[in-house]
Symmetry: C2
Subunit: 508 residues, 2 copies
């Protein structure tokens, strides 16, 4: 028996990591297990460790309290028990803990700070060459995005026919030189030529993903991990249940101690035709058992929604189902599922040939404001053709669109919204009206959005007593005009342009 | 008995009119009737005449054949029988007869020429001062519009608080000087101060409307007469069943011989809260009985549609029910009702405060193209604020919007469409695809519309043999690029802009 005194500083909601020597014979991914129990005054948690190559095993733990911890780790590869202790210190300034569901429809960090989600999608940004990854992180740093959806497995699809920088398993892929934009759909699933061992992880692949999650964490960006998906030519979407479960457990053991992890069971689960509801429910129970931190969990559709009312689903992760209406339906989805509504795909700003990837920046921005006022959370993606064939949607890199700068403008209003966020309220039939999502509301705080309608004026009436400050917001041109204070019934002139909003705040 | 030889030329589908002296004592509108039977080789029709003031009775008849007619008219005001004959000559160049339903979903004039409806609405243009009426007709003459919706009764609503040039009944209206934009809704229905005799028509009002219908007829514009509506402060919307029926019969007797008349039983029938389905059905049977020419018949909704599947309804006269989707639903309505779908209100281009009256010219034009490709027929309206408070929607006058010139461009494509018109066909999920509405189709004629989507290219495949001519149409900038001829599977580059269409025509 060896006793450790872990002397690095671990902050609350940071990652404690222990490294242990062990056996590398046979298949360490399946032949050995390692588990550790972490105890403090306020919590006791038992978590799995994982094999990280070269005879090294690791275990990670995220403390949730500022206090002294002891731990005891036992691996089946050794007779030794690793024991030790450490102290979890106060979180650093930008560490607010994991994101939780707050007030049913909203989100907040564990320290109570509201989290107003503005997501984007770069499916396999982390599997591109290093320079491009760096560019993606630079772009994210300057953006409004505080969540990014990306895949653990590489992506095979139009504009995605090259090789990723690494594969998740040991082995060799099929020859990709045969692929063309015409024939790539003939190589979906597990075509001949692949030679992967689905029980032997490529630890370098996962070590790299760990680092990417950590970089995002340091930037305050949630890593919405897409664990499974169907855009596959290597058989990763068609593994046996045993291999799937092994993968889930390995990924959870490696990454669940990162506070910014969210679980997206799948991108477009309904395209994984070999998986059944029983499979998805089994993966969900693995998460519920193995992720002791209760990270957010959802599953994203192509066409039919998964049943978001299942208890393990923490929030809706919606792909729009209609070509014309997307964010406009947030009210209905809130009512139906009684959970936060996150619009993880409302089409992409861009100009590619595919129908999901060519709306304008104006339409994207419009959908964001619709979603926000209706008490949901919008997500972005971008697919502009370019010579380099680097599309933000899958590869990251630079943004070319007109909507992202408008999200910085929108974010300002999101952050000024009193917690927990907005909810739709009764308004005129033709306007999107919102107030603070409380019952009863303590705030005299109202927002109106006119979408592509262009009224030249509007009249408002809330009560006779309160003095209201009125701001007219041009959500596209990013201007705010303070129109002064009003009482009783009042009329506000508007410019008769599209995409206007009005914020009305009463003295409290 | 007196015998007439009518010696003016009456063309087929023109108006034959006979004038008879009669009694003016009592109430000639209720105390006397006049009927005439018109016979030719191919038809025999019996129609009502009407009292036209000053002791004069008239009867009108529209011959449907180029042949000799005899007639026999008998009025209860006289012992005389008026007999005579005339010859119906060939129709003049722009006279194609009344518009009929053609091939279930489409419309054609009685001579077989397809009628591609592009409507507009100017609710009470004919009750404005003369100069403005003249301006309206000039605007119409330069426009693409071939149908106009307007009311027989004056309109009381926001921007419509003044007096019409005439009232349909003898009597005096309430004092309109008390009305303001704030209080006008308190004077809806039949407020005090009105003193109308709902059994005694003001013949000048109707004589004027006859002339307006005739002017529109000469311009080739269909007069979609809105017979009843709820925007009323004179009691015209709340008359007794007896007075309603008297009105219907009077109007039909006066105007049904004009070939360009359509019957719109009501604008927003559901706002006429004192009328029941039984009432609407009774009016419909009066039309079916008294209008011997079978003019088109429909009824327009505010919210719930009337049951367009009723046998007397010749076409859907739809007001959109959703703020975001309107023309996009044409396919569904075609399937549900199996009748022509006419979108008589898909919101107004403009900038007024009301939610139905402030979309952009781009959005209006987009809705028009959506409707056209889906096999429906769009309608326009305009509500731009101006100093004179003259809004096209109600008063006519001049157009200020950006969409009307695009309708001239659209009309060109409509007119080039092989009869009977387009129908939606299976296409990509994200495109509006159309072909000629025939089963089986004899035409290799396809149109695609990309709405606000902006694909940079598209691939098409119809067959291996045919040579197809491809045109890329910018529906907003009104340009057509001929891209040449293609065979088999082919790819067409698109500019990545909104509002593009592609027309593909094969050799036949």
């Amino acid at each position: 028996m060896s006793t450790w005194k872990y002397d690095k500083t671990v902050e609350k909601w940071g990652v404690f990591e222990a490294e242990m020597p062990g056996k590398s014979e046979g298949n360490p991914f399946t032949d050995y297990t390692v588990r550790g129990t972490f105890k403090s005054k306020n919590e006791t948690k038992t978590v799995d460790g994982f094999y990280d190559g070269n005879g090294t095993y690791r275990i990670r733990f995220m403390p949730s309290f500022e206090e002294a911890y002891t731990f005891c780790i036992k691996g089946s590869f050794s007779e030794e028990t690793f024991e030790g202790s450490f102290t979890a210190t106060a979180p650093s300034e930008n560490n607010h803990g994991p994101v939780r569901v707050s007030h049913r429809y909203h989100l907040a960090y564990e320290d109570g700070k509201p989290y107003y989600s503005i997501g984007t999608t770069c499916y396999v940004w982390e599997l591109q060459k290093e320079e491009l990854q760096k560019k993606t992180l630079e772009t994210l740093a300057e953006s409004a995005f505080n969540k990014i959806r990306f895949c653990i497995f590489p992506k095979h699809y139009d504009y995605n026919l090259g090789e990723p920088i690494s594969y998740p398993y040991e082995g060799t892929p099929m020859d990709s030189s045969v692929l063309t934009t015409e024939n790539f759909m003939d190589y979906v699933g597990c075509p001949e030529g692949n030679n992967f061992d689905y029980k032997r992880f490529n630890v370098k692949h996962f070590q790299h993903i760990d680092k990417c999650i950590e970089k995002l964490m340091d930037m305050g960006i949630q890593a919405d991990l897409i664990v499974m998906h169907a855009y596959d030519r290597w058989g990763f979407s068609e593994m046996s249940a045993e291999c799937d479960d092994l993968y889930w457990k390995y990924l959870i053991a490696r990454t669940s101690a990162f506070r910014n992890v969210w679980w997206s069971l799948a991108n477009e689960y309904d395209l994984l035709t070999k998986k059944t509801t029983e499979d998805w429910e089994r993966y969900a129970s693995i998460i519920c058992e193995k992720d002791v931190y209760g990270h957010l969990r959802s599953i994203h559709n192509c066409k039919p929604f998964y049943d978001y009312s299942r208890p393990w689903v923490t929030h809706c992760s919606i792909q729009r189902q209609d070509l014309y209406k997307s964010a406009e339906l947030v009210n209905e989805w809130r009512e139906r599922y009684k959970k936060p509504v996150i619009l993880d795909e409302i089409a992409y700003e861009g100009n590619i040939q595919h129908g999901w990837g060519n709306i304008s920046g104006k339409e994207m921005t419009r959908r964001f404001w619709e979603a926000y006022l209706r008490g949901g959370y919008p997500g972005h993606g971008e697919t502009y053709l370019n010579k380099e064939n680097i599309l933000w949607w899958s590869h990251g890199g630079e943004l070319h669109g007109e909507s992202p700068e408008r999200f910085l403008f929108l974010k300002r209003f999101m952050e000024e919204t009193p917690a927990p966020g907005l909810r739709p309220m009764e308004g005129q039939w033709d306007e999107v009206a919102a107030t603070v999502d409380e019952f009863p509301s303590r705030h005299k705080y109202y927002m109106f959005y006119y979408s592509f309608m262009r009224p030249s004026f509007r009249e408002y009436y809330f009560d006779d007593e309160t003095e209201y400050e009125v701001e007219v917001i041009d959500t596209w041109n990013m201007t705010v005009e303070n129109r002064g204070k009003f009482k009783g019934k009042f009329k506000i002139e508007l410019p008769g342009r599209e995409y206007m909003a009005v914020r009305i705040r009463g003295e409290e």
